[in-house]
């Protein structure tokens, strides 16, 4: 008798969620197997990479991360366009760093204006990410939602403490929400139920499990994402059958290791180190079930794209 590889029996399917509007809209999700287990099921939509743009010049990025964006970091619109035109970005993730009350503390109106400009200038899906300061996010993201009505932005982070207000705006102005919870499968599920009760339809939810980079606890994120997929695919847990978004670039590039100079502490070339750390972190998260990863360095992105292509060839 011929040997037969035992197969996992899947009973569930990840929901398909469409991000953005128009020709460049992207659909994610739809998996009927664990990530890249194409011998067991389907992955109708490949994972996608969103490129990160900040709404203010980044003060503390390592040289390696700044280099590809020389000349555009003080202009979010130019920065976004560069990502799309020069580096082939399929999605933009605009981080509203400047609104942080502990930082520049820019007001909601000013932030909204920037978002609006970027949104109008590009045609790929736009992710808009606040600072996770709930009071400020409510103020800023609600305004953003209103100003960009109908563009189907992906708005995050939407957390237990602010989901009602931001969620209501997302429903009202037709955007997708990134439901964000602190590395806990139960909390993720609870928030999804709460969003459902609020009236956010299943097609407008993507989950942010909260991730971190290699060396900084990525294994926790990995295992929570893995469990989300197991619950969604093999335990028919409908409230966990959502695509997953991973806001990883920020986490990787702020680590101590990526701020060391060449050969400091025998850690070799700084640029290569940064690119590899980002690419490997992102890849690990894709293997755990990520559908969208927010990344920074074009070369790291290139590596991950190649890897995705190889795994799905």
């Amino acid at each position: 008798m011929a040997f037969e590889i035992p197969k996992t029996k899947y009973t569930g399917k990840i929901r398909e969620v469409t991000l953005g509007k128009g020709d460049k809209a992207i659909t994610v999700g739809g998996e009927t197997s664990y990530p890249f287990y194409l011998f067991e099921g389907e992955m109708p939509h490949l994972p996608h990479i969103a490129m990160e743009v900040w709404d203010c010049p980044p003060g503390e990025w390592p040289e390696a991360a700044l280099e590809p964006f020389a000349g555009v970091t003080d202009d979010p619109v130019a920065w976004a366009k560069k990502c799309i035109n020069d580096y082939g970005a399929e999605m933009i993730a605009l981080q509203l760093i400047s609104t942080d009350p502990n930082g520049l503390d820019r007001g909601a109106d000013e932030a909204t204006e920037v978002v609006k400009k970027v949104a109008d200038a590009i045609d790929v899906p736009l992710i808009v990410w606040g600072t996770a300061n709930q009071e400020k996010d409510i103020e800023v993201l609600r305004k953003v939602a209103e100003a960009c009505q109908g563009k189907n932005l992906i708005i995050g982070p939407v957390e237990e403490g602010d989901y009602k207000k931001i969620g209501a705006s997302a429903i009202g102005y037709q955007h997708t929400v990134a439901a964000s919870t602190p590395i806990d499968i139960n909390l993720a599920k609870q928030l999804n139920i709460l969003l459902g009760n609020l009236g956010v339809t299943d097609e407008l939810i993507i989950m942010d499990p909260t991730v971190s980079g290699i060396g900084y606890g990525i294994e926790y994120a990995y295992s929570v994402m893995e469990r989300m997929r197991m619950a969604g695919l093999t335990q028919e847990d409908e409230k966990l059958q959502f695509p997953i978004i991973c806001n990883i670039a920020k986490e990787v590039w702020k680590t101590k290791e990526l701020h060391l100079a060449d050969d400091e502490l025998n850690m070799g070339n700084a640029k290569k180190r940064g690119i590899l750390m980002e690419a490997m972190s992102a890849m690990a998260l894709l293997l755990a079930g990520g559908d969208v990863v927010i990344m920074r360095h074009p070369e790291a992105i290139k590596l991950v794209r190649e890897m995705i292509a190889e795994l799905t060839a």
Binding site: E160, N186, Q190, I193, L194, N197
Partner: protein, 651 residues
């Protein structure tokens, strides 16, 4: 000796009790109150953190550490925390209504027994472990001049076929005079030990002149962390002659097991707690005797059940190691101990039977409950749940049993809740809400103006608020409701159950987001315990053929509401049975039947304890359960159906 070292005497007068006590200057006010017999709430054991022991200084001076528990306004009025106050001058102190402990109402609960709950455990013979045996002995002659004791034993053997008797020495002392004074007609009291039926031996513990068989009584007690319940039993008729209850006198030293254990670490702490519980039991005994007109000398024995800590404190055993890993109790099967040696005001020959326990946090109360409810006798797969500060769970049937205990916290008994209180007069226990204008209808115990919220009230309130959409499934308030009752208060969002003029305390009675959170944690611990336990034996909740709910609190609990908040599993309602106080039930039955006493030992040995504090799965289940009713809609189908219907109705 210098003048300074002689402390001045001070007189403290407590109202409304009108009790005086003479103390020394500098003494603690809470301790003075306890010493004078005035009951003051002190949930935290005098640590100053709970704020339940607030008193009003009407005259005189105290030196008081100020905490945030006393508001500026209160401070100006003279309100102080008793536990934080040192007595400086003579005082007149008023105990406000919310700091007072009331016992009158506990009587409203059926003390778990006058009802024929024996229906649950079946097949046992009425054969008390204590017997009164009457013998008429032939007076000695020159031909038959064996010793008095041998004569008595020979008589017992002849008449009752009694062998292998051991004899308490005290009997020998009074034997010669008594036999002769009573014309050689005496009644002997014996008890049987609780080893296996074939290895039992009999102990002769008392001897009385004449035939006293008609007067044969015993006592059964459940020593709860909060309340102590006792019954006086007629061992000839197998009936409860009188029932009574009181608060555990240890409450003033701490509301939960852990704070009591902590109190024992203070010098003299263990002795104080032991004396407190003995005083409580003595108090109940004298009430029982008065009510039943039974004489104390006719009480032959006393059976006690309670959680492991309560039993150890009653016996005066150091409870420290219960609290420290690996959580070892001092004793599971307590050897016979004389009641009088513990300070109980009973005849010297009376022994205490303490029912066996399983582990540090699975006590004799659970064993008693399982025996009383007959869980071990049936093949029916049963979940037994004792709901209280320390939730205890047993799953099993006649072949096997697993058990776990999970610390639920005092929310079910009103602890840790802003306006929480024990289920006594004035506690809100029933609640409904009009979903269109959010106006409540409340019912209190005793039908009087509300004073606070008890545990069952809390369950009903949270279920009602959830159904009406005042709170979301995460227990947080919806903030844009068109009602003045949902508002932002000092401790975050809250809902006003009763406006100040409608209450006894002259303040709005509210339920806060923090309270709801505390209840959610409590119910999550119990439900997670159930899930973990069911999973470890590979069954699901729907496999349970019977769910038995016990606990002082369990005697008035709304199943439907409890399911809505996710405390109880969502399975057909006809599988739930309430037995009230299972511990007392078991204590009573074992006093009626030596077979059940054996069974108690067997049950304790049969139970496999799961230590949840080190169980990863439990922690997972616990965080998952911090939601109303639970994020797993498939486990609560009827609740989810109902909630979505209500939501549609509103839309």
């Amino acid at each position: 000796m210098t003048k300074d070292s002689i402390k001045e005497k001070r007189k403290v007068h407590f109202t409304p009790d009108n009790v005086d006590i003479i103390v020394e200057e500098g003494d603690n006010l809470l301790e003075a109150a306890i010493a004078s017999g005035v009951h003051i709430n002190a949930s935290c054991g005098g640590a100053g953190v709970c704020g339940t022991c607030k008193v009003l200084i009407k005259q005189g001076q105290v030196e008081s550490t100020r905490t945030e528990k006393v508001s500026n306004q209160e401070y100006d009025q003279g309100v102080r925390q008793a536990c934080q106050s040192r007595i400086i001058t003579d005082l007149v102190v008023d105990i406000p209504v919310e700091s007072r402990l009331e016992t009158a109402v506990l009587d409203r609960e059926r003390v778990g027994g006058i009802q024929p709950l024996e229906a649950l455990a079946t097949g046992w013979r009425f054969n008390p472990p204590l017997s009164k045996l009457y013998v008429e002995l032939p007076p000695p002659t020159l031909k038959d001049n064996i010793s008095d004791l041998s004569r008595l034993l020979r008589g017992l053997k002849k008449r009752y076929n009694l062998r292998n008797i051991s004899v308490d020495f005290d009997i020998v002392r009074k034997l010669p005079q008594m036999l002769r004074d009573s014309d050689w007609k005496v009644t002997a009291t014996t008890l049987v030990t609780t080893t296996k039926p074939d290895k039992r031996w009999t102990k002769l513990i008392n001897i009385e002149p004449g035939d006293t068989r008609g007067k044969h009584y015993s006592l059964a007690f459940d020593i709860g962390t909060t309340g102590v319940r006792g019954q006086l039993l007629d061992l000839n008729r197998g009936k409860v002659r009188a029932a009574g209850l009181d608060y555990n006198g240890q409450i003033s030293y701490g509301e939960d097991v852990i704070s009591r254990i902590a109190y024992c670490q203070k010098p003299g702490g263990l002795r104080k707690l032991q004396q407190a519980i003995v005083a409580t039991i003595n108090g109940i005994i004298s009430k029982l005797l008065a009510e039943s007109k039974v004489k104390v000398k006719d009480i032959a024995h006393i059976v006690v059940a309670g959680n492991t800590t309560m039993v150890q404190l009653f016996l005066g055993l150091e409870p420290k190691y219960i609290r420290l890993a690996p959580y070892t109790p001092t004793v599971n099967t307590v050897p016979l101990v004389r009641a009088s040696s513990l300070g109980l005001k009973l005849a010297k020959h009376v022994y205490v039977y303490a029912l066996p326990s399983v582990a540090s946090y699975v006590g004799a109360d659970i064993v008693a409950g399982i025996v009383g409810a007959g869980v071990y006798q049936r093949e029916k797969l049963t979940l037994y749940m004792d709901i209280g500060t320390n939730g205890e769970i047993v799953i099993g049937n006649s072949s096997w049993m697993v058990t776990a205990s999970c610390s639920a916290g005092p929310a079910f008994e009103g602890g840790g809740i802003k306006h929480g209180m024990i289920a006594t007069n004035g506690a809100i226990e029933d609640f409904s809400i009009n979903p269109s204008n959010f106006e409540p209808v409340i019912n209190t115990i005793g039908g009087i103006k509300p004073k606070g919220i008890c545990g069952s009230g809390l369950i009903n309130i949270v279920a009602g608020l959830l159904e009406a959409g005042v709170i979301s499934q995460n227990g947080k308030f919806n903030t844009n409701l068109p009602t003045k009752r949902a508002r932002k208060g000092r401790d975050g969002y809250e809902y006003v159950l009763a406006w100040a003029p409608e209450t006894q305390i002259g303040k709005d009675i509210v339920i806060t987001e923090v309270d709801i959170d505390n209840l959610i944690r409590a119910k999550a611990a119990l439900y997670a315990g159930c899930r973990t336990l069911t999973k470890s034996v590979n069954i699901s909740c729907s496999d349970l053929e019977q769910v038995i709910i016990a606990g002082a609190f369990g005697s008035h609990i709304d199943i439907e509401k409890s399911i809505i908040i996710g405390l109880l599993p969502d399975i057909p309602r006809d599988r739930f049975i309430f037995i009230g106080n299972g511990s007392l039930l078991g204590a009573r039955l074992t006093s009626f039947s030596r077979d059940l006493l054996d069974d108690a030992r067997r049950v304790a040995n049969m139970m496999t304890n799961f230590e949840l504090s080190v169980n990863v799965d439990f922690m997972n289940n616990y965080t998952a359960s911090l939601f109303l009713p639970h994020p797993n809609a498939e486990d609560f189908p009827s609740v989810y159906q109902r909630l979505s219907k209500l939501q549609k109705l509103k839309a």
